[in-house]
C-alpha cells in the first residue's frame, strides 16, 4: 500500500457555541492513496466536521491535518482556496449547485477558477457530462433535474479539476432509492478506477458497495476501523 495521502494527528474541534462537548476529540487517522474510506456514525457525531477539516473549509482547534504533504491546518484563506481548487473535489447531500447557472456552467466553475483554457475546460466538462450520462441536460438549469441527476452534476463538478481526493458528505442522503442507486454505482466506479474517496454516509449499502475501509465515529471519537473489500461494480 502507498504512503498516506491524508494524515490526521490528535485533532480536536470545539465549536465556540457548544464548548462543553467537542465535535471531534483527539482523533488520529491515516488514509492511503487509492483507499475508499466510509465514515459512519450517528447524527451529530462529527462526520461532517471531519470532512470539513480535510477539505480546508474549517480549522481544527488542536492537532494537525496534512493532505498529500500539505499542512492544511496551517494554510491561509487564499492558500486554502487554491488547495480546494486543485486537490479536493466535494459532493454534498443537498448538491449545492448554483441554481441560476446551467448544468454546464456549474461544472465549468472549478476549471474557470483555476484558469484552465476555455476550450480545454469545455472539452473536459463535456467528457464528464457524457460519462455521467447527463450531457443532454448540459443547457438545463439544476432546478429542472431529478435529485439523482443533480447529484451527478455535482460529482462532475467535483471531478472537473481531476483532484486526487474526492470528499462526499451523505451524497445519497437526500435521494430516493432509485436515484441513490445511480449515485452508488457512480461512486463505486470512481473507486474502482483507484480514486481516493472519503465518504460520509448513513447508507450502509453505499459503504458496502464502495468502501475499502469503514470507520465509525461516536461523539467525535473513533470507535471502529475495519477494512473490507467492496462489492464489485456490476458493469
Amino acid at each position: 500500500m502507498s504512503a498516506p495521502i491524508i494524515e490526521i494527528r490528535d485533532v480536536s474541534k470545539t465549536y465556540a457555541a457548544s464548548e462543553a462537548r467537542p465535535a471531534l476529540a483527539d482523533l488520529s487517522l491515516e488514509v492511503a492513496a487509492g483507499e475508499a474510506l466510509a465514515v459512519l456514525g450517528p447524527s451529530g457525531s462529527g462526520k461532517s466536521t471531519l470532512l470539513n477539516l480535510i477539505a480546508g473549509l474549517d480549522r481544527p482547534s488542536r492537532g494537525t491535518v496534512r493532505v498529500a504533504g500539505t499542512a492544511v491546518h496551517a494554510l491561509g484563506e487564499a492558500a486554502l482556496a487554491g488547495y480546494r481548487r486543485e486537490r479536493i473535489g466535494m459532493v454534498f447531500q443537498f448538491f449545492n449547485l448554483l441554481d441560476d447557472l446551467t448544468v454546464e456552467d456549474n461544472v465549468l466553475i472549478p476549471a474557470q477558477l483555476a484558469g484552465v483554457p476555455k476550450a480545454e475546460a469545455r472539452e473536459r466538462a463535456n467528457g464528464l457530462l457524457t460519462r455521467l450520462g447527463i450531457v443532454r441536460h448540459a443547457r438545463d438549469y439544476p432546478g429542472t433535474l431529478s435529485g439523482g441527476q443533480r447529484q451527478r452534476v455535482a460529482v462532475a463538478r467535483a471531478l472537473m479539476n481531476n483532484p486526487p481526493l474526492l470528499l462526499a458528505d451523505e451524497p445519497t442522503g437526500a435521494l430516493d432509492s432509485a436515484s441513490a442507486a445511480e449515485v452508488r454505482e457512480l461512486l463505486g466506479a470512481l473507486v474502482a478506477e483507484g480514486r481516493t474517496l472519503v465518504l460520509v454516509t448513513h447508507d450502509t449499502g453505499l459503504a458496502a458497495q464502495c468502501a475499502t475501509r469503514v470507520i465509525e465515529l461516536v461523539d467525535g471519537r473513533l470507535t471502529r476501523d475495519v477494512r473490507n473489500s467492496p462489492v464489485a461494480v456490476a458493469r
Binding site: R84, M90, F92, N96, D100
Partner: protein
C-alpha cells in the same frame, strides 16, 4: 422582578410580537439600516421643510413679531403740532399709531479711529429719529451690540450700515461738531430710519434755525396693496394742513426687498427636498421588500406552525415600522438640533427672527415618512402573506432566479473576463427590480452631488461676477489713506488727471480705468437714474455679460436686468439720457450681471450732457501685471497720490453671507443625500450577499479566494454605480441649469452662461466616477463580510 416573572412575561407576549422581535434580532444590520435611512430622510425633510417655511414668510413673521408699521410718515415740524399728529389716530381706517418722534435729515462724516472707513469720509444722507426701542408699533430688534444707554450714542439699522459697533460719526456742519458712537445694530421691519438716537440728543443735532420733522407710524385696517395704502395715506394727510406730510415710506418696499433674498433660497431648497424624499422612499421600499424576500423560508416555517396570512403581514409591517419609527424620532431630534445653526445662518442672511422648526412640521414629517414606510412595506408584506407554504419551504435555499438573471449569467460568462468577475457582474440582474431601485437611489445621490457641487461653484462664479462692479487688484479712492491723519480735501478734476498720469507711469500697472457715478434723467420717464461712466480702457473691467457685448465707444451702453425691466428696454434698443435740458442717445449693446438698477457706459457717451464733474463720486480701478504685489504697489503709488487727496488700496473681495449660507446648506444636504444613497447600496448588497451566502459558500468550497470574493461582490455594484453616474450626472447638470436661473430670477437678475458652465472635464470625470465610488463604499462592508463568512457554516444544512 425575578427571572421567572420576566420569562413568564415574555411567555405571555403574543407569538406575533415574539416573531417580530426575533426577526429584528436576526437581521440587526438591516434593522439598523432601516432606522438610519428613515432618520436621514426625516432629518433632511425637517430641515428642508423648516427652512422652506422659514424663508417663505420671514418678513410677515418679523412684521407680526415686531408690530410692524404699515406706513411711516414724516411731517414738517413747523407746520403741525404734536397734538394734531396724535389726533390722526382717530382717522377712519387707522388701527394703530406710534409717535410723533422727532426726525432729522443729516449729513454725517466718518469719525476718527473707525475700523474700515477713513475719518472725514462723507457718509450717505442719514435720517435720524429720536425714539424709544419699542412703542405701540415698530419694535426695534437689536441684533448686535445694545440699545441706547447714555448720551452721544446711536443705533444703526442692521444690514447695510457702513459703520461697525464702536465706530463714530461726526457732524462737522453743526455747532460744536457733535459726535455719535455706534453702540448697536437693530432691525426695523418697516425700515423707518437710517439711525436712532435718544430724544434728548435731538436738540444738539438740529441745524440752527430749523425745526425737526415729526415721524408718525401707522397701521391701517386695509393695507394689502399699494392702492389701499395710498388711500390710507391720503386720509391721514387730509386732516392736516396741506403740504404738512413731507414724505412717507410703506412696508411694501421693505417686504419686497426682504422676500427677494428669501426667494432665492426657495428653488434650491425645493430641489433638495424633493430629491431627499424620493430617495428615502426608494431606499425604504428596497429595505422592506428585501426583508420579506430574505425571510421567505422563515415565512414558510411560520405558516407551517399555524400563522395566518394576516399575522404574517402584520409581523412584516411591524418589522419595518418599529425601526423606522425609532429612526423617525431620532430624525426629528437631529433635524431640530441641526436647524439651530443652519437656520441661524439662513436667518442672518434673511435678517429675520429664528423661530426654529414649527411644531406641526415635527409631527407631519415623521408621520408622512412612516405612512410611506407602511405603504412601501405593505406590498411585499402582502406578498409574504400570500406565499404558499410548500413553496417557501422548498428545498434549495436560494430562490429561483428569473429568466432575466439566467440570461445575464449566460451573457456574462461569455465575456473574456475572469469567472469571479463575470459572476459578480451578473449578480444584480438576478433581482432586476431591487437592483433597479437601488440604482435609482444611487442616481438620485449622484444628481444631488452633481447639483450641490455645481450650485456652489456657480454661486461663487456669480459672486465673482458681481464683484466685477469693483474690478481690479487695486482701487484708488478719492479720500486720504485711513489712519494717515490727513484731513480729507476736495478732490479736483486736476487731481483726477494727475492720478491717471501717475497710474500710467507706475511700473506694474497693466490697465486702469476711471469709474465715476452720475445721475441723469431718462427721456420719457420720471425721476433720475444712476449712470456709471468708465474712462480709459474699460474692456478689462467689463462686467460678466448675460447677452450681447461690452460697450466699445461713445453712444453705446450696457445695463443689468433691473434697469432693463424698470424702463421696459431690451438689448438693441436706444435710450436717451437727459440732463441740463440736453439729451444723449445711447444704444444698449449688452446685458450685464449686476443686482443694481443702473446704466453703464463710456464717459464719452455723457459728453453731450455737459454734466459737472463730481470728483467725490469718482474712483479708479487698476489691473496689475503678473507678479505685482497689490500692497507694495499701493504703497508706492500712494507717494504720488497722497498729494492729490486720493489713496490706492488693494481690492479685497467681499464675502456674501447669502452665498455663504447657501453653500453651507448645499453641503449639508448633499452629504445627507450621499449618506442615504450609500446606505441604500449597503442594504442591497447586504441582502444580496445574505441571500447568496449559500452560493458564495459553494463557490468558496470550489476554491474562490477571499480577494476574489470581495472583487465579485464589488463587481456586482460596478454596473449600478457606473450607470448611476451616466444618468445622474447629466440630470444633476440639468437641475443646476434650472434651479440657478430660478434663484437668480428671484434676486432680480439673469445668470451669464459662463457662470453655469462649472463642470470642466476633471470635475465631470470625478462625478461620473463618484457613482462608482459611492456604490463601492456601500458594498465594501458586505463584500468583506462575504469573504470572511465561514464556508462550513454557510454550507451547513439546516
Amino acid at each position: 422582578m425575578s427571572r421567572k416573572e420576566r420569562s413568564g412575561r415574555a411567555g405571555r407576549q403574543s407569538p406575533l410580537g415574539r416573531v417580530v422581535r426575533a426577526g429584528m434580532g436576526r437581521k440587526r444590520v438591516q434593522t439598523l439600516v432601516m432606522a438610519l435611512t428613515t432618520m436621514t430622510a426625516v432629518t433632511a425633510s425637517v430641515l428642508a421643510g423648516g427652512l422652506l417655511l422659514d424663508s417663505q414668510g420671514p418678513y410677515q413673521r418679523a412684521f407680526t413679531a415686531q408690530h410692524g408699521a404699515h406706513l411711516s410718515a414724516d411731517f414738517d415740524g413747523s407746520a403741525v403740532g404734536a397734538e394734531q399728529l396724535a389726533a390722526t389716530a382717530h382717522v377712519a381706517g387707522v388701527t394703530g399709531t406710534a409717535g410723533p418722534y422727532p426726525a432729522l435729515t443729516l449729513h454725517p462724516r466718518v469719525g476718527a479711529g473707525n475700523r474700515f472707513m477713513p475719518a472725514g469720509d462723507p457718509l450717505d444722507t442719514t435720517t435720524v429719529v429720536g425714539r424709544p426701542i419699542d412703542g405701540p408699533l415698530d419694535d426695534l430688534r437689536v441684533t448686535v451690540g445694545h440699545w441706547l444707554t447714555g448720551p452721544g450714542q446711536i443705533v444703526l439699522p442692521d444690514g447695510d450700515s457702513p459703520l461697525d459697533i464702536g465706530d463714530t460719526m461726526v457732524f462737522p456742519d453743526l455747532p460744536g461738531r457733535p459726535l455719535l458712537r455706534v453702540v448697536g445694530l437693530a432691525s426695523s421691519v418697516t425700515g423707518t430710519a437710517d439711525g436712532w438716537v435718544a430724544p434728548q440728543e435731538i436738540p444738539a443735532l438740529t441745524p440752527p434755525g430749523t425745526v425737526p420733522q415729526q415721524q408718525m407710524l401707522y397701521r391701517f385696517a386695509h393695507a394689502g396693496t399699494r392702492a389701499e395704502l395710498e388711500t390710507d395715506r391720503a386720509a391721514v394727510s387730509a386732516v392736516l394742513p396741506a403740504q404738512a406730510m413731507v414724505g412717507s415710506a410703506s412696508y411694501l418696499d421693505a417686504e419686497q426687498q426682504a422676500n427677494r433674498t428669501s426667494g432665492t433660497f426657495v428653488p434650491f431648497l425645493v430641489a433638495f427636498g424633493v430629491l431627499g424624499l424620493c430617495m428615502s422612499l426608494l431606499v425604504i421600499g428596497v429595505v422592506v421588500s428585501g426583508a420579506v424576500t430574505a425571510g421567505r423560508r422563515r415565512i414558510g416555517i411560520l405558516k407551517a406552525l399555524g400563522f395566518t396570512p394576516a399575522q404574517v403581514v402584520r409581523a412584516y409591517l411591524g418589522q419595518a415600522l418599529i425601526p423606522a419609527g425609532t429612526g423617525a424620532a431620532a430624525g426629528v431630534l437631529l433635524g431640530n438640533l441641526l436647524s439651530i445653526p443652519v437656520m441661524g445662518v439662513a436667518d442672518k442672511a434673511l435678517h429675520s427672527v429664528t423661530l426654529g422648526v414649527p411644531f406641526w412640521l415635527d409631527l407631519v414629517v415623521p408621520l408622512g415618512v412612516l405612512a410611506a414606510v407602511a405603504g412601501a412595506a405593505l406590498v411585499p408584506a402582502r406578498r409574504a402573506g400570500r406565499l404558499r407554504t410548500v413553496e417557501a419551504l422548498a428545498v434549495g435555499r436560494t430562490e429561483q432566479a428569473g429568466r432575466f438573471g439566467r440570461s445575464a449569467h449566460g451573457l456574462a460568462s461569455r465575456l473574456p473576463l475572469p469567472r469571479w468577475l463575470t459572476l459578480g457582474l451578473a449578480l444584480p440582474l438576478g433581482r432586476p427590480a431591487r437592483s433597479a431601485t437601488t440604482m435609482a437611489a444611487v442616481v438620485l445621490g449622484t444628481i444631488g452631488v452633481t447639483f450641490g457641487i455645481g450650485l456652489a461653484l456657480a454661486l461663487n462664479q456669480v459672486q465673482q461676477g458681481l464683484s466685477q462692479e469693483m474690478p481690479g487688484a487695486v482701487q484708488v479712492m478719492p479720500f486720504p489713506a485711513p489712519g494717515s491723519g490727513a484731513r480729507p480735501r476736495l478732490v479736483t478734476a486736476a487731481d483726477l488727471a494727475a492720478t491717471g498720469r501717475a497710474l500710467a507711469a507706475q511700473p506694474g500697472t497693466r490697465s486702469w480705468t476711471e469709474i465715476s457715478t452720475a445721475r441723469t434723467g431718462v427721456a420719457g420717464h420720471a425721476g433720475q437714474t444712476q449712470v456709471i461712466a468708465y474712462s480709459g480702457d474699460s474692456s478689462w473691467a467689463a462686467l460678466q455679460l448675460v447677452a450681447g457685448r461690452w460697450f466699445s465707444g461713445p453712444g453705446e451702453a450696457v445695463a443689468p436686468e433691473a434697469f432693463l425691466t424698470a424702463y421696459g428696454l431690451h438689448v438693441g434698443d436706444t435710450v436717451t439720457l437727459t440732463a441740463n435740458g440736453r439729451g444723449a442717445p445711447v444704444k444698449l449693446v449688452g446685458e450685464v450681471l449686476s443686482l443694481h438698477n443702473e446704466l453703464l457706459t463710456g464717459a464719452g457717451s455723457l459728453t453731450p450732457l455737459a454734466l459737472p464733474v463730481v470728483p467725490d463720486a469718482t474712483q479708479f480701478a487698476v489691473e496689475l501685471r503678473q507678479g505685482t504685489d497689490a500692497a507694495a504697489y499701493s504703497d508706492s503709488v500712494n507717494r504720488v497720490l497722497s498729494r492729490h487727496g486720493l489713496t490706492a488700496m488693494p481690492n479685497t473681495p467681499m464675502i456674501s453671507i447669502v452665498v455663504l449660507s447657501m453653500d453651507t446648506l448645499a453641503t449639508l444636504l448633499t452629504l445627507m443625500l450621499v449618506t442615504v444613497a450609500g446606505l441604500g447600496v449597503l442594504n442591497t448588497v447586504l441582502l444580496d450577499t445574505r441571500e447568496r451566502v449559500h452560493d458564495l459558500g459553494v463557490l468558496k468550497a470550489l476554491g474562490l479566494k477571499p480577494r476574489q470574493t470581495v472583487g465579485m461582490v464589488l463587481a456586482s455594484v460596478a454596473l449600478t454605480g457606473l450607470a448611476a453616474g451616466l444618468v445622474g450626472v447629466p440630470l444633476g447638470i440639468l437641475l443646476q441649469r434650472t434651479v440657478l436661473p430660478a434663484m437668480a430670477g428671484a434676486a432680480g437678475t439673469a445668470v451669464p452662461g459662463v457662470d453655469l458652465d462649472v463642470y470642466g472635464p476633471p470635475l465631470l470625470l470625478s462625478l461620473l466616477a463618484g457613482g462608482l465610488v459611492l456604490a463601492a463604499l456601500g458594498a465594501l462592508a458586505p463584500a468583506v463580510w462575504a469573504a470572511r463568512a465561514r464556508t462550513a457554516t454557510a454550507l451547513r444544512t439546516e
